[in-house]
């Protein structure tokens, strides 16, 4: 219905040209507007905040059960310098509780029916978290290898975690996420002796989707490969133009 004159509802037509100023003739408007513009504006604001506070932000993405939180707990325990965590899950604050047990501050975001974190939620999470200058901020996304791929949160890099129990073809099944990531952590390698997992094939599949992807096999349980991951984080700080983490 025309909001000005009321015509257009059902069969209603109101005669006369002078009753309002606009035309009822259809017209076309070239908009060329990015659908993600709103999210991207919030992501830019987050990115500015990270730069101002000399913070490295990493967005951890994976399917549910890849061992993200366990990996994060072990990473925080091994890291020097301030660390803070934003936890995303549909429900419960279990993960934030596990992170706080390490002494690191954590904020839990429950997305309710939502399948991903967006930059607006993360911005509000950061207000509550108020991370220390020079910190590393880990954003543990909702366990979902599809939707979080499309949402920039303002992070320096997406890090995709996939565990060897998920199969070598995970990168081919969920290519968008592997394409969006800068690093893949292949987790739970302590289980290699018990599984029929072809590491070379997994790496080949991941590189097929993203030739520039860094790949590090790790085990949060045994600690194997964790040094390489910590070195990658330190290098990411330098690449992002941030100072070296405080000891």
């Amino acid at each position: 219905m025309c909001g000005t004159c009321g015509c257009g509802e059902g069969e209603t037509r109101i005669e006369g040209k002078a009753h309002h100023a606009h035309s009822h003739e259809p017209r076309e408007i070239e908009l060329h507007r990015d659908i993600m513009a709103k999210n991207d504006a919030y992501a830019d604001a987050n990115r500015r905040l990270f730069a101002e506070k000399d913070i490295l932000a990493l967005n951890l993405v994976s399917s549910p059960g890849s061992g993200k939180t366990s990996l994060l707990v072990k990473t925080i325990e091994a890291m020097s310098g301030p660390v803070a965590v934003i936890e995303g899950d549909q429900q419960t604050s279990n993960d934030a509780t596990r992170i706080r047990a390490t002494g690191a501050p954590a904020v839990q975001i429950n997305t309710g029916k939502g399948c991903h974190l967006d930059a607006h939620m993360v911005g509000h999470g950061l207000e509550d978290l108020d991370p220390d200058p020079g910190a590393t901020v880990f954003i543990e996304n909702v366990g979902n290898l599809v939707c979080p791929a499309g949402f920039d949160l303002g992070e320096a890099s997406k890090v995709v975690v996939f565990s060897i129990t998920e199969g070598e073809d995970k990168p081919l099944k969920y290519p968008d996420m592997f394409a969006a990531a800068d690093l893949a952590l292949i987790n739970k390698i302590d289980l290699l002796p018990y599984l029929d997992f072809d590491m070379d094939l997994a790496i080949e599949n991941a590189r097929r989707v993203n030739p520039k992807l860094d790949i590090l096999p790790v085990s949060a349980t045994s600690g194997e490969g964790m040094e390489n991951w910590l070195t990658w984080i330190a290098t990411a700080r330098a690449k992002t133009g941030l100072s070296a983490a405080a000891e």
Partner: protein, 113 residues
């Protein structure tokens, strides 16, 4: 179903444009959804009608255009077209393709009254 939240962002944009550009109703909307974007066009279409209900775009026709996916072959250094992230190079068969285009998500054009 992140397509629903994208529909909600589209709805907000259209409501804002209606005020800015002085129109009452969107009768048709043209979207560019790249084949290498993270959006499934059919899921977007499914959510679109429901999300637009009660807005300036209620009942609007939806036209989805899929621009071509562009890639650069790191092996033979040629520019090629692809439809998925794990296509191989149509020239040399190599798998090392760097995607350079085709992930657009845009509201291109509106028909309004």
């Amino acid at each position: 179903m992140h397509e629903i939240s994208l529909c909600e962002d589209i709805r907000t944009t259209l409501e804002e444009e209606a005020v800015k550009q002085n129109f009452n109703q969107v009768t048709k909307i043209w979207l560019d959804i790249g084949p290498l974007s993270c959006v499934e066009p059919e899921a977007l279409r499914f959510g679109f009608d429901a999300v637009m209900r009660g807005s300036v775009a209620e009942g609007a026709a939806l036209e989805i255009h899929a621009p071509k996916g562009d890639a650069y072959c790191l092996a033979c250094h040629s520019k090629v077209q692809v439809t998925s992230r794990f296509d191989t190079c149509p020239n040399c068969g190599a798998a090392e393709l760097q995607i350079t285009g085709g992930d657009a998500l845009k509201i291109r054009k509106l028909e309004v009254v």
